[in-house]
């Protein structure tokens, strides 16, 4: 297990490094750069090339690419991601302020998905072709069909128009004020989770249906085991494995969906921070946020792999 974890961590590290390198290069290949974003395109704005070059020099963008890259990488290894070109504040400091906001939404969205989607999928499978099954399937389909931003807009319009209420806009960490934090993040979390709930519920249902038709389940029934035990001890433990894999992936997708949801709910999280940074070509911020996102997605996937071993005794990592 330790050897496996070490190997997976090493591969994960290489993956993160690859993402970071790709982001670094893509940012510099893309048209426009921070100096042009700040001063305007010399062809269009009338800013002189000298002004643009001076700013590039000041921000270290005129250095050879490999020098910039290794300098950034060395900084990142020491958790020094430089200063935002816009605010002139350390990126890490700003990111640390926004991470709990986004993490709160991701955690709540994941919890919502687990609490709602897995039981819904199980019930749907056990009650196949009943009214309950159809309701779950149709709602799941709706979740998959409606983009997060649209769900967010529906929630906001409905709440403001009919209840004159919106979640609090002032960030309250969960460890300081759990109730307020819950009120602030539950709706953005729901907007993000709605699609994931749909997908996971459908996946759980199909996995459960498949497992319930397996020989060992029939054998268990023949032995006279209680249906509850058959479902939870034998069927679910097997059916949940692909669901866990999917959850790991959807958390990553959820982070992508968060960007628009944060804008819609005026939540000052990592997503809004990233959007603003991309608009301003704020390289240090984009690079740091992408690196962190890659890290969290890789870490989540390793965690899912580890969970496999606990959920399925047949799986042994060597």
């Amino acid at each position: 297990m330790r050897a496996y974890l070490f190997r997976r961590s090493l591969i994960g590290l290489l993956t993160v490094l690859g993402v970071a390198t790709a982001t670094f290069l893509l940012l510099r290949i893309m048209p426009g750069d921070p100096a042009v974003a700040a001063l305007g395109d010399p062809g269009k704005s009338g800013a002189s090339m000298e002004q643009v070059e001076a700013l590039r020099e000041q921000w270290g963008l005129n250095r050879p690419l490999h020098v910039q890259y290794f300098s950034w990488l060395w900084g990142a290894a020491r958790f020094d991601f430089g200063e935002s070109l816009r605010s002139r504040k350390p990126v890490l400091e700003e990111y640390a302020r926004k991470l709990p906001v986004t993490a709160s939404i991701v955690i709540l969205a994941t919890a919502l998905t687990l609490v709602v989607a897995v039981p819904a999928g199980i019930v749907s499978a056990l009650k196949q072709d009943t009214a309950l099954d159809y309701v779950v399937r149709v709602i799941s389909l709706a979740g998959l069909s409606l983009p997060s931003f649209w769900v967010a807009v529906l929630i906001i319009v409905g709440l403001v128009r009919y209840f004159q209420w919106l979640p609090p806009i002032d960030f309250a960490p969960i460890w300081e004020d759990p109730v307020r934090s819950f009120k602030q993040f539950i709706l953005p979390a729901f907007a993000v989770a709605f699609a994931t709930i749909g997908m996971v519920a459908r996946l759980t249902r199909s996995a459960m249906l498949e497992v319930m038709r397996e020989d060992y389940v029939r054998t268990a029934r023949a032995k006279g085991l209680q249906e509850r035990l058959i479902t939870y001890r034998h069927a679910l433990r097997n059916a949940i494995l692909p669901v866990m894999t999917a959850m790991g992936m959807y958390i990553g997708f959820g982070i992508g969906g968060l960007i628009v949801v944060e804008v819609a709910f005026n939540v000052n999280g990592v997503g809004r921070y990233l959007i603003a940074a991309v608009q301003r070509r704020d390289y240090p911020v984009v690079e740091a946020v992408t690196l962190a996102a890659a890290f969290f997605i890789v870490a989540t996937n390793i965690l899912v792999d580890v969970l496999y071993a606990f959920l399925d005794p047949r799986i042994r990592y060597t």
Binding site: A37, A38, L39, G40, D41, K44, S45, G46, A47, Q51, S84, R86, S87, R88, K89, E94, R97, K98, D129, A131, Y134, V135, R137, V138, I139, A142, L154, I156, V157, G158, L159, V160, R161, Y162, Q164, W165, L166, P168, I169, D170, F171, R180, K183, V263, A264, F265, N266, N268, R272, Y273, A276, Q279, R280
Partner: protein, 615 residues
């Protein structure tokens, strides 16, 4: 027995019906808002009257306790009156917003809304503007003052015992806890008058030297009399800083003597200012804290305001007739005021770059611009086309003359004779470079990619032979920076006029070397008249000089005036002593007399978790 496929079909149909119902409810909700907007469109005047009816009452002498006795009282006495007037508990957090992060915290260097609204509560000026009477000033940090030598010498006596902010929040900031003295005023005014460090250097160009006869005495020696000097030193971006503070520190640090201590600005989130317990006006401010949020999406802002999480929208902006009717329909108790006339909009470009450098292009632009049409499209005709001086004052030329100058004599009304004007515009563009609607003059137009105005102007002005290409700038502060540095060809320019003093309106955008002279306009004749206007004390003569300057500007058109922008704001009735006053814009922003009526807030269900009572 119903087949599985059929069952699924039935359930799908039911769900579709449910989804359709939800969609219809959503459309109905949106249509409600549209209907409201239609109502406004049909009867803009009626709506505006209704919207303005309440604030008049709310800012009346009886409710605006802070300045109840302002006719006879000095500011300290006024403050004392205000201190006694509110009945009940004070405290709480005032929550307002601005659409963007500040580009810098140096309010002298960039005077954008994002900076001024977040730093003003931390400062005091030498004088402050009377919130209810245009042009009248009150003492702020000045105790007494006198003018000698025919207006060439001002001697100011500063208030004693005024301290710069102190305590743990500001322990590492230069000048923390020091007492206000002449050196601070000298240090501030030297920055204020230095174009390298200030957008407003022309305000104090008449000051030849600043002397300190004693700690609390300041002597300003002028090179020429300046009848508007006191008004110009009453604006929010002239707040006094400690002499210990290096100028470059103002980019990231705020230090002053004001009612609130600047605690922090969190990028993308909010600025937080907390009560200055040692404020020199005893008992003020009433509020515990002042939070100014960053809310880039104005529709989201209206929603958040309606939910009660903002006590006010951005001061003096953010609410037009459409938003006003949406707010009033769902929250009739909210005070909505559309009567502010502070903002003006122009189009312009650097005069040292083709094609804006050519007068014929600027004239063609002005002729082709349908100011009335643009007002109808954007603001239900609540904007008022006019000249560079505020159209409701004596300083402005008559409307007919302004329209005539803007249209080269073709029309004396802003929206009339558009066909003839466009024909003349085509003629001018053809003369300039053979341009026509078939062979248009391409111009890069700096603007936000989501700004609907671009499409409107691109479409309506193509008839004259203009072809605008969008030079995208999504970030307001970047656009502002580019305007300042002249890195653009054509763009929208706007300003806010919190003080109706003609020299103050001309000083920055049109006088040679002015801090916001983004077109780079320089006209010796105008500069000379400006110098005369500054020194002239006779009111009638000043009006005459101002009119001469208006004629020059409307002929030269360094930037083409569009209209004065009638934008408004909204606030909840639990917010007391707030004055939506054009006249005192820069003084009222320091929020020292504003308080929150907790009983009213409870009655109107202000979200409990945004309120706090400290005493």
């Amino acid at each position: 027995m119903i087949s599985r496929r059929r069952k699924y079909g039935i359930w799908s149909a039911l769900f579709m019906a449910l989804a359709l119902g939800l969609a219809l409810a959503f459309v109905a909700a949106c249509a409600g808002a549209e209907e409201d907007a239609d109502d406004v469109e049909a009867e803009p005047e009626a709506e505006q009257t209704e919207a303005t009816a309440e604030p008049t009452a709310s800012t009346s002498e009886s409710e605006f306790e802070g300045f109840e006795e302002v006719e006879v009282a000095e500011p300290d006495a006024v403050a004392a009156e205000a201190r006694l007037a509110p009945d009940g508990q004070y405290g709480g957090i005032l929550r307002t917003m601005t659409g963007d992060d500040p580009a810098t915290l140096d309010y002298m260097k960039i005077r954008g809304i994002g900076t001024v609204q977040r730093t003003n509560p931390a400062g005091n000026m030498l004088w402050r503007l009377h919130p209810l009477e245009e042009g009248r000033v009150l003492n702020d940090l000045v105790e007494t003052w006198e003018i000698a030598d025919g207006g060439m010498e001002y001697t100011l006596r500063l208030k004693e015992g005024v301290q710069f902010h102190s305590g743990s929040l500001v322990a590492d900031r230069p000048g923390a806890g020091t007492s206000l003295d002449c050196a601070d005023v000298k240090h501030t005014l030297e920055k204020f008058g230095n174009p390298e460090w200030s957008q407003s250097s022309n305000y104090v160009y008449a000051i030849a030297s600043i002397e300190c006869p004693s700690d609390l005495e300041v002597k300003l020696v002028l090179s020429a009399p300046d009848s508007g000097l006191v008004q110009k030193l009453s604006v929010g971006w002239s707040a006094i800083i400690p002499s210990e503070m290096p100028y470059e520190d103002m980019e990231t640090t705020v230090m002053g003597t004001g009612p609130f201590i600047f605690k922090e600005h969190i990028t993308g989130e909010k600025a937080v200012l907390v009560r200055n317990e040692a404020y020199f006006r005893d008992g003020l401010p009433y509020l515990d804290e002042y939070h100014n949020f960053v809310i880039p999406d104005w529709d989201a802002m209206i929603g958040i305001f309606r939910s009660g999480q903002l006590d006010m929208t951005s001061p003096h902006q953010g609410v037009g007739p459409q938003q006003a009717s949406v707010i009033k329909e769902s929250n009739p108790e909210v005070i909505v005021d559309l009567r502010a006339k502070l903002w003006w909009n122009t189009f312009g470009g650097p005069l040292d770059k083709e094609p804006w450098s050519d007068l014929r292009v600027r004239q063609a632009f002005s002729l082709c611009l349908d100011r009335v049409g643009a007002g109808e499209v954007y603001t239900y005709s609540t904007n008022v086309p006019g000249g560079y001086q505020p159209h409701w004052t004596q300083w402005s030329l008559p409307s007919e003359e302004v329209a005539s100058l803007m249209t080269l004599g073709i029309s004396d009304q802003f929206g009339a004779n558009m066909d003839a004007r466009r024909a003349k515009a085509r003629e001018l563009l053809s003369d300039y470079g053979g341009y026509s609607p078939d062979n248009p003059l391409k111009m890069d137009f700096m603007g936000d990619p989501v700004w609907s105005g671009f499409a409107y102007y691109q479409d309506t002005m193509s008839d004259c032979g203009f072809d605008f290409q969008l030079d995208e700038v999504a970030d307001f502060s970047v656009a502002e920076q580019r305007r300042i540095e002249g890195n653009f060809f054509l763009g929208e320019m706007y300003g806010v006029t919190g003080v109706v003093e003609p020299t103050l309106i001309y000083a920055d955008p049109f006088i040679t070397g002015g801090g916001t002279n983004m077109t780079g306009y320089s006209n010796p004749e105008l500069d000379e008249l400006y110098a005369q206007l500054v020194s002239e004390a006779d009111a009638a003569t000043r009006v005459d000089i101002t009119h001469q300057m208006e004629r020059i500007l409307l002929t030269d058109m360094p930037s083409v005036m569009i209209y004065w922008y009638d934008e408004g704001m909204a606030w909840w009735p639990w917010l007391k002593n707030w004055c939506h006053c054009d006249a005192g814009y820069y003084s009222i922003l320091n929020m020292e007399e504003v308080w929150i009526d907790m009983d009213e807030a409870t009655r109107l269900s202000r979200p409990s978790d945004v309120a706090s009572i400290s005493q």
